[in-house]
């Protein structure tokens, strides 16, 4: 259970990591343009950016100022000039970013000192009182000495605006010599700026009678990166794969356990197939006992890592397959090319005696061709036209085959080989059932040519008991004398082979014996090639 939970958790974390990675590059992806907006405090008409705000997020900035009514002005100047121009008037400072879409602002109250009329403004003071106006004193000092007629003009509107609402207008920065650049318009004005050395600010001012507090938007083009996309996806993918793999292992392990229970069936199934020899019965009994033993074992060690189980059987199988070509091919054709031994052991041609070895190359080649032809009889096309020709000529050379077959060294080996061959034929037939409805007819076709069936016939064909034996062997049940196989194999391999047979029918031939299928395919191209040559 814990394993399942952890595997599931692993999958979930993987998915989450992928999702987060993707989200970071999509939903949460930063905008291509960073736009932040701020607005002036109620009752004020000016916004000033602090030095460094304009090139806060990029060297290029687009300043947009909006005012609900009247004109709006954007003026760019040195920070000291802008601050001096604003002087002691109430305004709003932009100090930076509050978040990704909002400017941090700070309201600055009108400085009471410079002009006498400002003292009377009680109404304005409390409203602005919350904000410290510390930033401005230097500007006031700069302005104070120059207290000519101009500052008086400039400040009068601010005062009047707050109280008596007289004819005074809000301060208008338009056209000042202080500005390096400015933009003026109604409603909305934009202004582009590229960063240059020094301390720069913009002043946004709404002007005209009844000016409303303006808003300022700063837009910086952004080079958007998605640094978390690929790390998230890769790490998440790995986690997910690990989780899935773990799950698969768990499922495989649990499936094998139930699969082990129906194991008696394979033992029973062969029984109806025919009368069993005593030896077979003994083997069956042994096997059943062993499966029972293993089941008991498994019950004891349920938590054992399941992956280890199939290991030995596969190795054993591989060992078997490796042994066979050596055993079969070595005695027959010492000079055989790698392709030949692969095909040879399964075909009856492989049964040609060692005596044939000294025979001419031509003969050997013919023998090989025959083998190939025999190996690919299931493909319906070649049978009528091609088969007779090669078979007709080699007859004298192939003639010794039947004679050699009986005295072929390992009697026990030839039997399983035949069984396997049949199996292969069946497998092919099953696979090709769509096009070739009768798989069995194929072997007869090859039986008509003299030599090979002759080798096969005495061994497999005649007795029903023997054919049943071949069946059994075909399903991977141990041959009579197989030393290592009965001990290791039966517990697992039959379970593997039988299980699919019972359920589907088709896969077992391919599944139980992996080797037969590959050899069948190589032989066919040569036959085609031959036809092409001619």
């Amino acid at each position: 259970m814990i394993q399942r939970a952890l595997a599931t958790l692993l999958c979930l974390v993987g998915v989450a990591a992928i999702a987060l990675g993707v989200a970071s590059a999509t939903v949460w992806r930063a905008d291509d343009v960073l736009v932040a907006t701020g607005s002036a405090a109620p009752g004020t008409t000016m916004i000033v950016t602090d030095p460094g705000v304009l090139d806060l997020a990029a060297d290029e900035v687009t300043v947009t100022a909006r005012a609900r009514t009247g004109r709006v002005v954007i003026a760019l100047g040195r920070t000291s000039d802008v601050e001096a121009w604003v002087g002691g008037d109430a305004h709003t400072r932009v100090t930076g970013l509050a978040d990704w879409h909002e400017l941090a602002t700070e309201d600055v109250a009108a400085a009471p000192s410079p002009t006498p009329p400002a003292d009377g403004e009680e109404g304005e003071a409390p409203a602005d009182g919350e904000v410290p106006a510390d930033g401005e004193p230097p500007a006031d000092e700069g302005e104070a000495p120059a207290d000519g007629e101009a500052p008086a003009d400039g400040e009068a509107p601010a005062d009047g605006e707050a109280t008596d609402g007289g004819p005074a207008l809000p301060p208008d920065p338009t056209g000042s010599d202080l500005w390096v650049d400015e933009a003026v318009g109604r409603g909305e004005v934009t202004f582009d700026w590229t960063a240059t050395d020094g301390r720069w600010s913009v002043l946004v001012a709404a002007t005209g009678a009844g000016a409303a507090p303006p808003t300022i938007s700063l837009a910086w083009p952004q080079e958007v990166t998605t640094p978390w996309l690929w790390p998230g996806v890769v790490v998440g993918g790995l986690l997910l794969l690990a989780g899935i793999a773990w799950w698969v292992l768990i499922v495989v392990a649990t499936r094998r356990r139930p699969a082990a229970e129906p194991e008696p069936e394979p033992a029973e199934l062969p029984v109806p197939a025919g009368q069993l020899t005593r030896r077979q019965l003994r083997e069956l009994a042994e096997k059943q006992q062993q499966t029972r033993r293993t089941r008991r074992e498994r019950r004891d060690v349920t938590s054992r890592f399941p992956m280890l189980v199939p290991g030995p059987s596969r190795r054993a199988e591989r060992a078997r397959t490796q042994e066979r070509p050596e055993e079969a091919a070595a005695p027959t054709t010492p000079a055989a090319t790698p392709a030949v031994p692969a095909a040879a052991p399964t075909t009856p041609a492989a049964g040609t005696p060692a005596a044939e070895a000294p025979a001419s190359r031509r003969l050997r080649r013919r023998a090989r061709e025959e083998a190939e032809a025999a190996a690919a009889p299931t493909t319906p096309a070649p049978t009528p036209t091609t088969a007779p020709e090669p078979f007709g000529t080699p007859e004298p050379a192939a003639a010794p085959v039947p004679t050699a077959a009986p005295d072929d060294g390992a009697g026990e080996e030839s039997a399983p080989r035949e069984g396997r061959r049949r199996l292969r034929l069946r497998g092919r037939a099953r696979r090709g059932q769509g096009e070739a409805p009768a798989p069995e007819p194929a072997p007869p076709a090859e039986e008509t040519p003299a030599p090979e069936p002759a080798a096969e016939a005495p061994a497999a064909a005649p007795s029903p008991a023997k054919s049943a034996d071949a069946w059994r062997r075909a399903w991977g049940l141990p041959p009579v004398s197989g030393g290592a196989e009965p001990e290791q194999g039966p517990a697992q391999t039959p379970a593997q082979t039988w299980y699919p047979v019972a359920t589907t029918g088709t896969p077992p031939a391919g599944g139980s014996e992996a080797e037969p299928t590959p050899p069948t395919t190589p032989p066919t191209p040569p036959t085609h090639g031959r036809r092409d040559d001619r």
Partner: protein, 327 residues
Amino acid sequence: MRRTAGLAAIGALLVGALAACSTPLPVPQPDAVPAAVPPALSADQAEDVLDGVADVLALADEARDPAMLEPRVTGPAATIRAVEYTLAGAGDEDALTAIPAAAQTLVLPTTDTWPRTVMVVTEPPEDLQAPLLLTLVQESPRAQYRLWSWVRLFPGVSMPATTEPGIGSPPVAPDAEDLAVAPTEVVNQYVDLLTNRDQSPYAAAFTADPLRQGIAQTRDAFVGVVGANGSLTETYQPDAAGVQAIGTADGGAIVVATIRTVTTISLVDSTLKIGDQTAALLGTDTVASSLEIQWLSVVAFAVPPAGSDEPVEVLGAEHSRVQVTGS
């Protein structure tokens, strides 16, 4: 237990991942306040200011309306220009001093306070004419630069070297200590020189200049005209308009000062026929008893730095009747 621990770990991981995803907000990183104050104006801004001045002058000149000068002309320049309009109205074709807008040299102050003083040497208005030295003043942040004075440079003078506009020139206070002579004191000394002529203790402190010669010649001429029929007194004093100064490359300063000269003529049993310009200002060309002419002189000095033995050089001047009364 293990599961809760695992969930907690995963929760922490997710939070961490989310936190890592959020890029920190950029913070303003302003350039440091420069140790050396940059010039108050860029060259472009100064050109714009000059254009603004030229525009206003052009309009006012056309209308010959001194009131129209107000946005861009102030101080002695406004006073003198108003007189010129009067003279022009009286038929003097050459009364208006041409003030080119094109600058030859910009002398821009390095300051972040007000008032600010900018000096400009213009291109020659016409061939073979002397360039003008303009003084522009910005009184306060919300005020514009306004033409405070212009001075025709004397032939043959060479302007003291000034630093480039991009670097700027230090502003000089009227009572600056680091000059051979403080700007206000320069005016006082020059007034003494005008008053006492060669007997002035400062005679050696100034180079000879056409203005001083001219004032002396005019006075001598009047004295000759009035003769025994009356008396003539002439007083010189620094004008209320004050002085403007800006530093030069060698640590000295260009000082533009204003001097008011009052010429009073008292006639005894005689009449005096006066010249065109005075008559134009007075409205009549003969006076029977008295005549008072007020002159406004704008004088530009090149003052050497402290410790220098060099004399103060008079670079140029504008000398104009600004008020004539008489009967």
